[in-house]
Amino acid sequence: MQRVSNKLLAILLSLMLSVMLLGCGEDDEEDEEIIPEVSKAAYIINGLAETMSVFDIETNEMQNDVVTVGKWPNDIKIKENKAYVVNTGDNNVQVFELDGLTQVGIIDTGEFSSPEKIAFAGNKAYISCNTNNTTVAANLSSYQVTKTIDVGVTPWGVAAAGDKVYVCNSNAVFDLDTSAMSYGDGSVTVIDTSSDSVVKDIPVGINATEIVVSGSVVVVQCTGNYADILGQIYVIDSTSDSVTHTIDLNTTPYGLAISPDGNAYVTAFEGLIEVDLLSGSIGAPMADFEGGSGLAFDDDGNGYICVPDWMGSGNDQLLIMDASGNLAGTYAPGGGAGYVDIRE
C-alpha cells in the first residue's frame, strides 16, 4: 500500500513539474512576422491593437498586425518610401521604411507633448502637439526636432500648402469646475516654413480638428461640441489666408479627406458625406460607409474608409468606395482601425 502511495505521489509530482516546465517555456516561441511586399497599398493604423495593417490594393489582400507601433497611435502619413506613425501616448513619431516595414527612426516630440497629427513641407515634418500647445518642426534626415512653435490651444490637425503649414487649434480644454471638456472657438495658425514662425491666426468654428489642402484651398473641419453644436467646414483661401465660406454638416464629423476630383468627404456616424467645396452643398450620408473614422483616397479616386470597432470585438472594417461612390469591398483590418494612408 505504501509503495503504491509513493508511486502515485511520484506520478502526480512528475505531472505537476512537467506542466510547470512546459509552461515556462511557452513564451520562447516568437511569432514570425511576414512583411508583405506591395507596390500600391493602404497602410492602416489599428488604435486598439497598436499595430499596422497593410492592404494590398492590387491583390485585395489584407495583412494584419504586421508591425507593432507605439502607444495610442493617432495618425499615419506616407511620404515617398516611408510611413510616419504618430504615437500620442509615447510622445513620438515612428518612421518605417515601407519595403520591409523596418523602423528607421523616431522623432521624439518631447515629454508632455502628446503629438497628434503630422504633415510634410520639403524636408521637414510638422507635428501638432496638443498638450503643450505647440507644433514641432523636425528634420526628416536626422529625425530631430529643429524648432518648437507655439500655436493655439490644443492643436490637432495639420496640413501643408506650399511654403506654409496650417495648424488647427481645437480649443478643447478640460474645465475643472464642471469636470468636463469645454470647446471654445477654434482657430488656424499659419506657419511660414522658411522661418518656422507664426504668420497669422485665422478664427474658425468650434473644435477645429481636421485640416486638408486641396490646391489653393485649405479645408478645416470644426467638429462641434459632440452635443448641440454640430460640425462645420471652413474653407480658407491659402493665398489670402482668409475664410471664404463655411458649410454646415448637420452632424458630428470625424475624418476628412479630399478626393482627386476636389470634393471633400467627411466620415460620420450616419455615413460618408460628400461636400462640394465650391457650391457648399452636402450630399446625403452614404449609409454603406456609416461609422467611419479616418479615410484616404488613391489617385484613381477610390476611397479607403476605416470603421473601427472600439469594443474590440473584431468587427473592424476597411470599406472601399469606388470612384462612383459605390461600396467596392469590405475587408477586416486589425483592432481599432482608425487611420489610413495610401502608397501609390
Binding site: 505504501q2 502511495s5 509513493n6 505521489l9 502526480l12 509530482l13 505537476m16 506542466v19 510547470m20 509552461g23 515556462c24 511557452e26 513564451d27 489599428n46 486598439l48 491593437a49 497598436e50 499595430t51 498586425d65 507593432t68 502607444k71 501616448g89 509615447d90 510622445n91 523616431i106 521624439d108 515629454e111 508632455f112 502628446s114 496638443n130 498638450t131 490644443t154 480644454v173 478640460f174 475643472l176 469636470s179 468636463a180 471638456m181 470647446y183 461640441n225 459632440y226 452635443a227 458630428t252 456616424f269 472600439w310 469594443m311 474590440g312 470585438s313 473584431g314 486589425g334 483592432g335
Partner: protein, 647 residues
C-alpha cells in the same frame, strides 16, 4: 560592495545560528486553520475550496510594509502593481480586480465607486494573517466574490506585551511602529501605531532605453488600530475594534505621460463591534456592526486634464448570524446582512445604495469507520444567498461543494465546487455623469459567473513515508469560470462611451501546489520548500487571452530555520502578459527573486529582539506588471524590533 555585504551577513547568520541552538525559544508552527472558507475554523484539508493562508510567521518575518507587497511575493494571486505611489490590485483565476472580494475581519471593504481595493494602501502592522479562498463564493459573501475572496484578519490581543519596530531601506524608505497589548481574565486589548514614508525615487529605463528617475512616487502613511475583547461570561463575548489610516502619496503616472504634480490623499476611519452569544448548546448567534468612512482626494493641477476630485464613502454594515447545531456533523449557519452606503463624490454626486441579504449554509458530514477503501469521510457544503440592492438586481447565488477524504495521518482528499457568483456594477459604471465622451448606465446588471472546480489534496505527515520528510502536501485543482454579462464601456449612437452588459469570457486553468518540510533535530520544519504553479487560459469571446493574465505563473519559497533564526529565498515567474485586447503587444516574462535573513531571540529576561534583512529583486530584474509603470530594481530593507512580554 554587494558581495562584501553578503559575506558579512552570512557570517552574522552563521554565528547567530550557533548561538541560537543554545536558546530555548518557542517554535511557531505553520498555521493551516482557515475560517473564511466555511465561516468555521477548519484545516485546509477539510474544506472543499482551494484556499491559502499567509500566516503570522510569514507576515512577521517580512520587511514588507503593506498588503500589496506581501501578496505579490506569495504568488498565490496575480497582482497588478502600478509601483510606488500607485495602486496594487488582485486577480484570482483570471478574474478582474473588481471580481475579487476583499474582507477585513469578514466585512467587505471593496470601494463601491471603483469596485476595487488598493492593496498598497493597507498597512501590515495590524494584520495577523491573510486568508485566500479561491473560486466563486457569492453564495457566502455576496457581490464581487467571483474570482475569490481575500480575508484580512486583524491581530488579537493574546498576551501582555509591548513591541516596537523600525525599518529602513532603499530609496529613503522608513517605517516604524509600536504595538502594545494587555490581557487579563476577562478583558484584553491591543493598540498598534505605525508610520511609513518613502521617496521611491528609483532609477529605471524608459522604452527608449534612457536612464530615468521615477519622480513623484513618494508616500507617507500612518495607521492606528485598536481592539478590545471582553469575555462577558462563558456564553458571551464582545469584541470592538477601530482603526484610522491616512496616506499622502504622489502619483508618478505612466512612462511618457508623467504626472509630476499629482497627489492622492486617502483617509479611512472605521469602527467595528462583534457580539457573540451562546444561549444554548445547539444555538449561537452573533451580531456584527461596522461603520466605515473613507475619503480619497486626487489632485492633478496640470493640463490637459486638471483634476481635483474628492470621493467620500460612508458605509454602515449590520450582520445577524445564527448558528444551529454547531458541534454536530450538520452545522447550519444562517444570517441577515444589511448595508447602507452613501457616496459623496465631486465626480459622481451623492449616491446611495442599500443592500439586504439573507444567507444560509450547511455542512453535512458523514464519517466512516474502518473500511477497505480507508474512506474517512464525505462532506457536502451547500450554501445559498439572496441579495437585494436598491440600484440593481442581484438575486440568488447558490453553491455546493463536496469533499471526500481518505486516510488519517496520510490523507488524500478529493474536492470540488460548483456555484454562481456575481460582480456588482460599481458606481462609476452606474452613475458616471454625462460629459462630452461618456455617460454611466443606471440599467446595468451584475456580471455573473458560473464557477466550477475539482481537485485533490494529499497530506503526508507519517514518518514512515520518506523518513527525511516530516510533512508533504501536494494539491492540484482544475477550474473553469464562465463569465457572462461582463460590463464593457462601448461607444453608443451619439459617440459617447457607456457601460453595457455585453461580453463573455471564460477562464480555465490548473493550480498546483507542493509543500515539503524536512526536519532536523527537534525542528520539524527546518527546511520548508513551497512551490506553486498556475496554468491559466483566460479567453474572451474571440479566444484571445485576456489582458494582464499570464498563462503560466510560478512561485517558490525555500526557508531554512534554526529555532529563532531563518533564511528564506522566494521568487516568482510570470509568463507573457498581453496588454492589448488583440494580443498584439505584451509585457515580457520575468522571474524575480527575493531573499530574507532574520532572527528573533530573547536577549534579556522577557526582552526579545528581532532583525530582518531583506533584498527584494535580488538580481535587479527589470520588469513591469502594468505597462508603462516601472517597478524598482534591487532593493534592500533592514527591520529591527524589540518586544517585552509580560507574565
Amino acid at each position: 560592495m554587494f558581495k562584501r555585504l553578503f559575506i558579512i551577513l552570512f557570517v552574522c547568520f552563521y554565528s547567530f545560528s550557533i548561538h541560537a541552538q543554545e536558546n530555548e525559544i518557542e517554535i511557531i508552527e505553520l498555521d493551516d486553520i482557515i475560517i473564511s472558507a466555511t465561516r468555521n475554523p477548519a484545516s485546509l484539508e477539510n474544506i472543499s475550496s482551494s484556499s491559502h493562508i499567509i500566516s503570522p510567521v510569514q507576515i512577521q518575518s517580512s520587511a514588507s510594509t503593506n498588503l500589496g507587497q506581501i501578496l505579490e511575493t506569495s504568488n498565490i494571486l496575480n497582482i497588478s502593481d502600478y509601483g510606488p505611489g500607485g495602486f496594487a490590485m488582485a486577480s484570482i483565476r483570471g478574474s478582474s480586480s473588481e471580481q475579487v472580494l476583499v474582507l477585513l475581519d469578514g466585512q467587505r471593504i471593496n470601494d463601491s465607486r471603483s469596485g476595487v481595493v488598493d492593496l498598497n494602501n493597507i498597512p501590515l502592522n495590524s494584520i495577523s494573517r491573510i486568508e485566500i479562498v479561491k473560486g466563486g463564493n457569492s453564495a457566502m459573501y455576496g457581490a464581487d466574490a467571483v474570482g475569490g475572496v481575500i480575508n484580512i484578519i486583524t491581530k488579537n490581543p493574546v498576551s501582555s506585551k509591548v513591541k516596537a519596530w523600525s525599518s529602513m531601506g532603499s530609496y529613503s524608505a522608513y517605517n516604524w511602529g509600536i504595538e502594545t497589548s494587555r490581557t487579563s481574565d476577562n478583558v484584553s486589548g491591543l493598540v498598534t501605531l505605525s508610520q511609513s514614508k518613502a521617496e521611491a525615487d528609483f532609477p529605471f529605463r524608459d522604452k527608449f532605453d534612457r536612464e530615468m528617475i521615477r519622480e513623484n512616487a513618494q508616500s507617507k502613511i500612518r495607521n492606528i488600530f485598536g481592539k478590545i475583547n471582553w469575555n462577558i461570561s462563558s456564553k458571551a463575548d464582545l469584541r470592538a475594534s477601530g482603526g484610522h489610516s491616512y496616506s499622502v502619496k504622489g502619483d508618478p503616472g505612466p512612462v511618457g505621460l508623467y504626472t509630476p504634480d499629482a497627489s492622492k490623499k486617502d483617509k479611512v476611519n472605521e469602527i467595528k463591534t462583534h457580539f457573540n452569544y451562546q444561549p444554548l448548546s445547539f444555538f449561537h448567534f452573533n451580531v456584527n456592526i461596522q461603520g466605515r468612512k473613507t475619503s480619497l482626494r486626487y489632485i492633478n493641477p496640470k493640463m490637459p486634464y486638471p483634476t481635483d476630485d474628492t470621493h467620500k464613502n460612508r458605509v454602515m454594515d449590520s450582520e445577524f448570524q445564527f448558528r444551529f447545531l454547531p458541534e454536530t456533523k450538520i452545522p447550519i449557519i444562517a444570517g441577515v446582512y444589511l448595508r447602507d452606503e452613501v457616496m459623496d463624490s465631486t465626480a459622481l454626486g451623492i449616491k446611495k445604495r442599500e443592500t439586504y441579504s439573507f444567507y444560509a449554509q450547511q455542512e453535512i458530514k458523514r464519517e466512516f469507520g474502518q473500511n477497505p477503501f480507508r474512506l474517512k469521510g464525505i462532506s457536502i457544503f451547500p450554501a445559498i444567498r439572496w441579495d437585494h440592492y436598491s440600484d440593481f438586481n442581484a438575486g440568488l447565488s447558490p453553491k455546493i461543494g463536496f469533499l471526500t477524504s481518505f486516510g488519517d495521518e496520510n490523507s488524500l482528499a478529493f474536492r470540488g465546487n460548483i456555484g454562481i457568483s456575481y460582480r456588482a456594477p460599481n458606481m462609476n459604471d452606474l452613475y458616471w455623469p454625462s460629459d462630452a465622451f461618456a455617460v454611466g448606465n443606471p440599467d446595468l446588471n451584475p456580471e455573473t459567473s458560473l464557477n466550477a472546480d475539482a481537485g485533490f489534496y494529499i497530506n503526508v505527515s507519517q514518518q514512515s513515508f520518506l523518513s527525511y520528510i516530516s510533512d508533504f502536501r501536494l494539491g492540484s485543482t482544475l477550474f473553469r469560470n464562465e463569465f457572462k454579462d461582463r460590463i464593457q464601456w462601448t461607444p453608443g449612437p451619439d459617440g459617447k462611451w457607456s457601460p453595457q452588459n455585453l461580453s463573455e469570457a471564460t477562464s480555465t486553468g490548473l493550480e498546483s501546489e507542493l509543500q515539503i518540510e524536512i526536519p532536523f533535530k527537534q525542528i520539524p520544519d527546518f527546511i520548508f520548500l513551497g512551490l506553486n504553479h498556475n496554468l491559466l487560459f483566460a479567453k474572451d469571446m474571440l479566444d484571445r487571452q485576456l489582458i494582464y493574465r499570464p498563462t503560466n505563473s510560478l512561485g517558490y519559497r525555500l526557508r531554512i530555520q534554526n529555532r529563532d533564526i531563518w533564511w528564506q529565498v522566494g521568487g516568482s515567474y510570470q509568463s507573457r502578459r498581453y496588454t492589448t485586447l488583440q494580443n498584439t503587444k505584451w509585457l515580457e516574462p520575468y522571474i524575480k527573486h527575493d531573499m530574507q535573513i532574520g532572527l528573533e531571540r530573547r536577549v534579556w529576561k522577557n526582552l526579545k529582539a528581532g532583525f530582518v534583512f531583506e533584498i527584494k529583486n535580488l538580481f535587479d530584474t527589470e520588469y513591469q506588471m502594468v505597462a508603462d509603470y516601472p517597478l524598482p530594481g534591487r532593493e534592500w530593507r533592514v527591520k529591527t524590533s524589540f518586544g517585552l512580554e509580560g507574565d
